[in-house]
């Protein structure tokens, strides 16, 4: 019998050299005439340990990492194929404290299964939710999602069940299910990890949504920066036809536009147009893709649904705190020692995430700021690290959790420069439909440049910046323009010394 060895094929693992490690293991095994079965799994999310090689030992999966090709002969010498001891051995993967302290619901199969194997998926409970849903009335499926308390994970945290109910209640011969896999926020990669590591769960969640609202066609809009996720989804779709029944899914690839993550711009893009934001109303739930009622949800939102159906709404709602129910896969990114994906129920503090999981900065210098929730998210100072990780607590300090991305930054940072970047990013990515965003962002860059140069021009430039931000907040059609002031103003408020 051959031993199964796992070497992740996830993009982050590949970027850290996983392919060369996989090749070295295959060659070394062949040379030693040891029979192995090599599986390219997703990543467990402990990015700092990638390439993380696992061996299926009788007592569980044993982890070794980070492994380089040069380590491979030594690993064989140490008998790692039988779980043998070696300097790189980390013990049982599930018992690595960083993993053991998490509560993985939506990411429970990511890094565990072979993402190309429907059999693996089914063996770990995949398909149960869809089977249940097929025996339920559409309204009951929607009720289960509503009762779970699941809120959209793409950023706006709108209750998923309410959106589905609107689509269900809108009669139409054709409706659509659209998955937002644009994941444009810097510091986020949970959608990517899930699509590459457990694609069937996303497909299942979309098929359940189709049953719930009466839609037979789905689209997944994936950013062009994610070719590996596109390949993983297409590979899964190629074997999932029977499994999905009458529901059809097509993968659409974006083209390097951040604002196409905004849901109406995304619909325009799928329709083959420029990604210009639509005015709301009408809501996409009523007049969406090709003018038809459309459910739009994030990858993690859809992927959370199968287990909610299979295990019941209460099992999901039991996690979390306040009005933030369930778990959120947080992503520890930037200048952080132990970066990766931490799925935990809402309720821990930012500090626990940054230090207990993240281990502080990678550079060894003090963390001075973190940006939470992507390029439209606030810069938070150390004094706010004790904020509880839930939607309401973050809203109360003028911040947001967004898609759960956390970018850690050490004390070499210049927050005025970061504020400039936020304006610059808005200027580059603005869809151009409204003036406060299109022109305001460019003016914003100029004002910040003057502040940084100490060039007053006889006017208080800080006041000018505040006014400009005010105009953007109140005069922009979508959150691109109305939220760009959040990173800018939070930087100014919490780090005024950088604006002198």
């Amino acid at each position: 019998m051959s031993t199964t060895i796992y070497v992740p094929g996830d993009a982050a693992a590949l970027a850290l050299g996983a392919d060369a490690v996989a090749a070295a293991i295959s060659e070394e095994a062949a040379r030693r005439r040891i029979a192995i079965k090599l599986v390219r799994n997703g990543t467990r999310g402990m990015v700092w340990l990638e390439p993380l090689v696992e061996v299926a030992a009788p007592l569980g999966r044993i982890a070794y990492g980070p492994v380089s090709p040069a380590d491979v002969p030594g690993l064989f010498d140490a008998g790692f194929v039988d779980g043998g001891l070696h300097a790189l051995c980390l013990g049982t993967t599930d018992q690595i404290p960083w993993m053991a302290r998490q509560q993985r619901l939506v990411c429970r199969r990511v890094g565990v299964v072979d993402p190309r194997s429907l059999a693996d998926y089914v063996a770990l409970g995949g398909g149960d939710g869809l089977r249940r849903a097929r025996a339920m009335a559409p309204a009951d499926i929607v009720r289960a999602v509503t009762e779970s308390g699941l809120r959209g994970r793409g950023g706006a945290a709108f209750p998923a069940g309410i959106k589905w109910q609107t689509v269900l209640a809108t009669p139409a011969a054709q409706k659509y299910i659209v998955c937002n896999a644009d994941e444009g926020d810097s510091g986020t990669f949970s959608d990517r990890m899930l699509m590459e590591g457990d694609p069937f769960q996303l497909l299942e969640g979309m098929a359940i949504a189709g049953l719930a609202v009466g839609a037979s066609q789905g689209y997944i809009y994936v950013r062009s920066e994610y070719p590996h996720a596109v390949a993983a989804l297409n590979a899964a779709l190629a074997v999932a036809e029977d499994y999905l029944g009458d529901f059809r899914i097509e993968v659409r690839v974006g083209a390097g536009s951040y604002v196409c993550g905004e849901e109406t711009a995304m619909l325009e893009s799928i329709e083959g147009k420029r990604g210009i934001v639509r005015a709301k109303p009408p809501l996409p739930a009523i007049t969406g893709l090709f003018g038809k009622p459309t459910v739009i949800n994030n990858v993690i939102t859809f992927a959370s649904v199968p287990d909610i159906l299979a295990q019941g709404a209460a099992a999901y709602r039991d996690h979390g705190c306040g009005r933030s129910r369930g778990t959120l896969p947080f992503q520890l990114a930037g200048n952080i020692k132990y970066g990766g994906l931490v799925e935990i129920p809402f309720g821990l503090t930012l500090r626990e995430l940054l230090y207990d999981f993240g281990g502080g900065s990678r550079s060894g210098r003090p963390l001075r700021a973190v940006q939470v929730g992507g390029p439209l998210g606030a810069y938070l100072p150390e004094a706010q690290f004790d904020t509880v990780l839930d939607y309401e607590a973050f809203a109360a300090i003028g911040a947001g959790l967004g898609h759960g991305g956390i970018v850690a930054i050490d004390d070499t940072v210049d927050l005025a420069k970061q504020a400039r970047y936020a304006m610059k990013f808005c200027a580059i990515e603005s869809c151009g439909k409204c003036t406060p965003c299109r022109i305001g962002s460019t003016r914003g860059v100029e004002v910040i440049d003057r502040i940084r140069a100490g060039n007053n021009q006889g006017v208080d430039q800080i006041e000018l910046l505040q006014d400009l931000c005010d105009t953007m907040v109140h005069g922009s059609l979508c959150a691109m323009g109305s939220m760009t002031p959040i990173p800018v103003m939070s930087a100014l408020r919490h780090f005024p010394e950088d604006f002198k």
Partner: protein, 147 residues
Amino acid sequence: MEKPTTIERIFAAHRDQPGALLPVLHEIQHLLGYIPPESVPLIAKELNLSRAEVHGVISYYAHFRQTPPGRHVVRVCCAEACQAGGGEALAEHARSRLEGSDVTLEPVYCLGLCACGPSVQGDETTLHAQVTPKKFDALVAALEAKP
């Protein structure tokens, strides 16, 4: 002529697809490395769109090129998570290293490798994490040596 046949095949494959323009443009760019301006009238005709619509879409999206790139393309992430790990210095180094090279440098805003930045993508297929200037030079040298 060989190229038009391939392009004809692309159109045939997408003729009945709703909203086919982006998928068609992706395939053309995949084939040629860019979308030649002279192909706009053909695309417009085949997809029953106006030239202005086609041109508008090509120029709107950062991913689509209107001029041919160098023999290879490297994309350096310029977003916040990579900045926090030294991305800016890397981007600057990349600019000076690639001056005059036939490897094209493009900025990219996030590759989803935010826990192991700064990150770089080579030719849309190869990914590199924790890229230092030294590592960058090595990966560029490897690309330059490739046909």
